[in-house]
Subunit: 432 residues, 2 copies
């Protein structure tokens, strides 16, 4: 067999693998969505039940605001991006969720602070002194505007965004956290990550808002990049506001899944900016590094938490394998590959996807388990709970389906002579 | 062999087992104390490091106020009750811990609210909107008064106690929790438990304070008893203030270790009151019931959390085995046996003690591991952390050593004809 024939056969085999994965992603997305549309809609009060047992039964009717906002976002996003989800059942449920949020999320309107969890009929149960309920509220409202065209949703989104930016960059006192003399001025990576995600959400195909938030987006990227510490050898979850390592467990805390999620947020941002050096840095520090240190060599899967000095974390769940870091890793590696063409990233995508589909999927009742022990055994049988809703799994499946489709639609190239090994699918800028 | 001879031989064998356990408890207590005196004293600032790795190395220098108060209490208590611990090293360390608390625990003196965690040099890092830092502060101050005779410690204890009682029974607004329309008026069992423990602490050999808090003690006992729900078939961790089951996960939440700890608090209280019917009820509902439902039939050990409907709890660590429920169970069963003479309780004590000494002890570096996975494998190698300090293990060992000593000092009885099986050691009232 000639060398040229061999290369073509390898490429065809690789395309076949991509096609198979695209099909699996699509089928799984349908199954996962069916689980949520069947079990989570509260027909009486609007909004969504998210405390769902293995078979979908509601085991608690509390409504967690993060998950309400995320499900509205997810439904609208699928409705908008996928023809097969462009149907009124999904849109109506999203609108009912949006109306529930509009009516009940804020603890003391017209104040913008939102609750963390509400009763089934919308009375506040708990408030967090963070920005996250408000961020998911904003994502929901912006997507609702995109699919309905109703300006009131967009006004809500933009006003809430302004409030969040004010809390983060000007004055956090409205969040209600006490100022304590010993509390370090720590920045959790979650804050600039979440804001960058909002900048990208609001700026999508919207030149005015993209311009308005351009400086904010760059600020977020810079702040996230400050979490790369120790001469580039570790991504730390908390750093000081001027980008220094903090002392103790707080400073050494690592969250590989978060680093990978930040990685694809940053990569998407830098693809838009067209900065190849930055993109290589992001792939190195936010994709490869967290995977190398965070993947369990013994049992597979990503650890939930780690300590940068390899000391024992104090979180009881540190060695557990959670669904969302694996969802984020799949997105990150496929996006990294789409951007760079580096086959190492494609094979990491396969490695994570194989582990994830094997360990987290529930072939019997649909959706994924969320919480495995270190060895990969299901530790909690719930499908939804206070922190797991209709979001990470379908977002991952939808984005992977789209990215795999885009890869398959690229024209087959001649093998690139300079590549480490012939990339099965060539690099392309701005794959998404 | 005559029946009488057989009974005497069985009794001697049982006494031999009790002697062996007493010796193990004493030796282990010495070893555990040595670990803390060697590794945890902050010679510079006073107080204690509690974030200690497997070998005792300090991995974080934050000072958790619960654990500062508990260690002061533990040191004083041992100094006061055990001749071999009646030495100035322990007393000086306790006083240094007490002075650290006096100087730094309160967030905004003269206000009484205490921090949850302080920097090494005493600046507040976090405040919890609960009563527990203040409760351990009170325990520490009362014991310091008992061993030093210095009245300023007792004034601190009594003033703080009054503040706590005010927060619990009159007006919780000083704790800083927001009033939210959807938040159920739930009573965590921890609150009356902790208060009952304080009543017993302050009232020990102190007729004036015992009288002053007598009504409070009865109120606490009544409130704890309200957590027995479902026709006596379950102890629920949270109930409404008028003693009804709450809806959802919050209402179904169970914590077997907490029920067992409440059990021996209640038992101690009711032994003082001399109410045999109540004591039998406590043994049945707070000792036997939580053990029966909370002991893992597959791998041994007590589950950390459970759901009263046998649904999957939402806490990631629900199936883990923690050191403190096992410490509390050992105390509870030995106290129950000392009071009732029921050999079932003695054998449960042996069962828990054997599991605990086998699984939690670290023969290499001393002290106990705190956190095992469901199967009993060490999940966290730390010996101390934000919630584990010098308290549950030595309190358990000290109390068991004392109770075993008291059992061995009882005169050997003639077999009681009415007992289910001849109790190896007879029932005695007020064993402690």
């Amino acid at each position: 067999m000639s060398g040229g024939l061999q290369v073509r056969q390898d490429m065809e085999k690789e395309r076949e693998t991509l096609r198979t994965w695209k099909q699996r992603m699509g089928q799984e997305l349908d199954r996962v969505l069916a689980f949520w549309t069947e079990h989570s809609h509260d027909q009486e009060h609007g909004g969504f039940f998210t405390c769902l047992g293995r078979d979908g039964r509601v085991y608690d009717d509390l409504k967690y605001v993060w998950l309400q906002g995320r499900q509205v976002w997810m439904y609208c996003h699928l409705y908008r991006k996928f023809e097969r989800f462009h149907h009124s059942e999904l849109l109506d449920a999203a609108k009912a969720g949006g109306e529930f949020l509009l009516r009940y999320a804020r603890v003391a309107p017209p104040g913008k602070k939102c609750a963390f969890v509400l009763t089934r009929d919308g009375r506040p149960v708990k408030v967090q002194r963070t920005i996250f309920s408000e961020c998911f509220y904003t994502m929901a409202m912006n997507e609702l505007w995109r699919v309905t065209g109703e300006v009131r949703y967009q006004s809500e989104a933009v006003e809430m965004m302004d409030q969040i930016v004010h809390w983060v960059r000007e004055d956090p006192s409205g969040l209600g956290r006490p100022q304590l003399a010993g509390a370090p001025a720590a920045e959790p990576m979650a804050v600039p990550m979440m804001l960058l995600n909002l900048v990208e959400q609001l700026g999508e195909a919207d030149a005015e808002l993209a311009g308005r938030y351009a400086e904010l987006g760059d600020w977020c990227a810079l702040r996230i990049l400050q979490h790369v510490q120790r001469d580039g050898q570790a991504v730390l979850e908390n750093v000081s506001e001027d980008g220094k390592e903090l002392s103790g467990c707080l400073g050494r805390h690592q969250n590989p899944g978060h680093a990978l999620e930040a990685g694809w947020f940053l990569l998407r941002h830098s693809i838009q900016k067209g900065d190849p050096k930055l993109r290589a840095h992001i792939i190195d520090k936010f994709l490869l590094l967290p995977f190398r240190s965070g993947w369990d060599p013994e049992h597979g899967g990503l650890f939930y938490f780690q300590d940068a000095d390899d000391l024992c974390p104090t979180q009881l769940e540190w060695a557990m394998k959670l669904w969302w870091p694996h969802s984020e890793a799949m997105i990150a590696f496929l996006m990294g590959y789409s951007d760079s063409g580096d086959p190492v990233l494609l094979h990491l995508f396969y490695q994570v996807a194989e582990y994830t589909f094997r360990q987290f999927r529930d072939p019997e009742y649909g959706e994924w388990f969320g919480y495995l022990n270190r060895e990969g055994k299901v530790a909690l049988t719930i499908k939804g709970g206070p922190f797991k809703g209709c979001f990470h799994v379908p977002r991952c499946l939808a984005m992977c389906e789209e990215m795999l489709g885009a890869l398959l639609n690229r024209p087959a190239p001649a093998p690139a002579p300079g590549a480490r090994s012939p990339p099965a699918v060539p690099a392309r800028r701005g794959a998404e």
